[in-house]
Amino acid sequence: MKKIITAITCLSISACAGHLPSTDKDELASLHTAIQNARNAGAEKCAPAELAKAEAKQLYAAHEIEEHGGYNVSEADDLIASGIASAKAAEKKCSKPKPVAKPKPKPMAKPMPKPVVKKVKPIEVIKLEGVYFENNSAALKPSSEASLNHAVEVLKKRKDIRVEVAAYTDSHGKESYNQHLSELRANSVKAYLISHGIAGNRISSHGYGEANPIADNNTKEGRAKNRRVELHVQ
């Protein structure tokens, strides 16, 4: 019997896991409101880092308050203030700028000369079908090798051309994030080509983000087509 009691005591100690505190506290009311405002502004999509900071600090402050059996001014107050600042930053980031009124055009005194239309040479595009990246990353998937090796062969045969590696994303997610991701992906493909013997001075890279979609971004298939990499011959 004694052994059983001892074993139960040991198991109880092991099972004594912590729990996350409740954030439903008077002291956290202002932080709670700031987070709610940020969420209403769409911060989960447009300012996830700031929103996460605010919510994590809310939990941490709640823990500090519970841990000290009341309101610990020095630690919890700092966390609450910092959380409110993060939530406000998230809300600000998500609020759209007000449209600026366009000035009325002045009446023209003289007729404008006809604009000179330059004939633009169409760009030759080498499509790289089958180039895939890890989710939210510029890391190339191993399955992309065949397509990239084909591009290497083309560039080795056509020694006289320079190319721009152009990467595009679909329109899902924040525009600035997609822009950054496309730049990283274009750089990643450029690095692959250089590492396979193509001279660096023949290749430039450019991320176009969500620009120039070739298919409907409202469908899964369309979005998959829009996430692409091309070589623009220059």
């Binding site: 005591t9 896991a17 912590g18 996830p48 880092a49 994590a56 890890e134 989710n135 939210n136 990353s137």
Partner: protein, 80 residues
């Protein structure tokens, strides 16, 4: 006397195991959310950092609770 000794051994074993697991779990979370920038990935990073801070202050059970929440968010991270 024997009973007290057994309980002490249990406490020591549990304590060292919990310490080690917070570190390795933080590493797993970090790997899981690497390159991800969505809300859940950010939450996972923030909560994991708090867990490590708490562990540093020997608040092992609190660290475990924060880490558990971090792992939940890490699971949900990255939908693109």
């Amino acid at each position: 006397m024997k009973k007290i000794w057994i309980i002490c051994v249990c406490i020591a074993a549990f304590s060292s195991a919990a310490n080690a697991s917070i570190e390795s779990r933080a590493e797993d979370v970090s790997k899981q959310v690497q390159g991800k920038h969505d809300y859940h990935a950010q939450m996972a990073k923030e909560l994991s950092a708090i867990a490590e801070e708490e562990k540093g202050q020997h608040e092992v059970s609190t660290a475990g609770a924060f880490m558990e929440e971090a792992e939940k968010h890490a699971q949900m991270a990255g939908s693109k």
